[in-house]
Amino acid sequence: MSPDDEFGDLKAIIESLIFASPDPVTLKVLVKTLDGEPPEHIEEALAMLGQEWNDRPGGLQLVEVAGGYQIVTKPELHEWVRRLFHEHSKQRLSVQALETLAVVAYRQPVTGPEIAEIRGVNTSGVLGTLVERRLVKVVGRKAVIGRPFLYATTREFLDRFGLKDLADLPKVEDMAEALGMEVPAALTEGYPTDAILPFEPDPDPETPPAEPPEKVH
């Protein structure tokens, strides 16, 4: 093996180590990992690698930071990276949204204050997102004081989850059985027996609104 080839291999190994490491990789760590390789070879390979990265156009750079080496995006591209993550968080259905969707699905038609009471937190913003995504819609107003909106799931929701109708929504026992899991005893009760509730003001007064309705005075 010619010395050049050898350095080629060494550079490749060092590069992969720097890339895969969560923290900047120090010379010391490299020497220890590449046990048997003369430290001056490693230093030389590192210098060559630094030069190559320096000459390389593109979006990444090799930097020396905190006594070690790390591959990072070029600072002038940070705005784009920020946009990527912004786009990501816009797209993502957060745990919050999923929980809210689940409550709407299993308790529909249901009002914002009722959802907030079950979840223990205010959910109005998340509900808006779900309505925007056409997974949830307003189906009327509940005939209680404040006349809060009643929410239910949409046709789109059924399609997304591969359900024919709301009666298809699985009960926890169904899924536990299909997947060979234990059903937590506490969770077998309290499911809606008749999942399909027509749009109809619920005369049941037992759940008082827990949160101011949309209307503000």
Binding site: P22, A102, L179
Partner: protein, 294 residues
Amino acid sequence: MADDDNRAAAAGGELESHAHFESILPEYPFKVGDFEGPLDLLIHLIKKNEVDIYDIPIVLITKQYLEYLDLMKELNLDVAGEFLVMAATLIHIKSRTLVPRLETESGDDEDDEDPRDLLMRRLLEHQRFKAAAELLHERETVRSAQWARPDGRVEEIAGEPFERELEVDLFSLLQAFQAVLSRARERPPVRLPEEVVPIETRIEELRERLATVEACGFEELFADVSSRRELITTFLAVLEMIRLKMIRVFQQGTCGPLRIYARMRPTDAPRPLNDPDQGDASPAETSGEDEDKG
């Protein structure tokens, strides 16, 4: 091939970390309890006897299959139901192969088919998926040798906390609902403070309702409320509406039911208390003015 390897593969639980993927062509000696299911056992017997899967000697294979089940029973091993179902299938196939067909039956298309065909197809398909699993495992091995930029650096790069996107399905939906329910159960049963609906809001609601009907009974105005606070709010709203000359109240007889009518507000009607234009109106000034007796 080492016996230990075979044992690890055959016994492997779903997450057994030391279990590694076995070749689908094991040459291991017959070991009781090694087979996950009847199809595995049949494949083993076919290979052991070096017979053609397209022309299974059903008598021989059935005999050996049943011997295996007997051995399992002798050793007090649990014989899973699937093994018994397959035994019945084999016996059925054997009987159909051995019994000469009657003239009357030969007209039936189904009877023209070799009774072993269905079994053969199942075995081939089973093998196909075992092969696929092995191919997948090879891909997995290559992939697991590729290291991506560590996740730990994401927040540093993103400059914000990062939450990985969920691939939402029915299972996660149900899981989310379970999480909500169990949290709700753990929460101390504290009621969030009851909402205070302003009288103005209630007036607006009552006005909307009266706009759709000519008149309604006094009690009907309270039909949609239950709490004491809501009852009081509604009662105060009615009083205010009378003062503002938005409604008229009639009573039939001294103890008869009250009836409420919406009315056009006269121009000189008092203004609401919080009306910015209002200056002179006070509750005392107009009280009782509109209460006509019928």
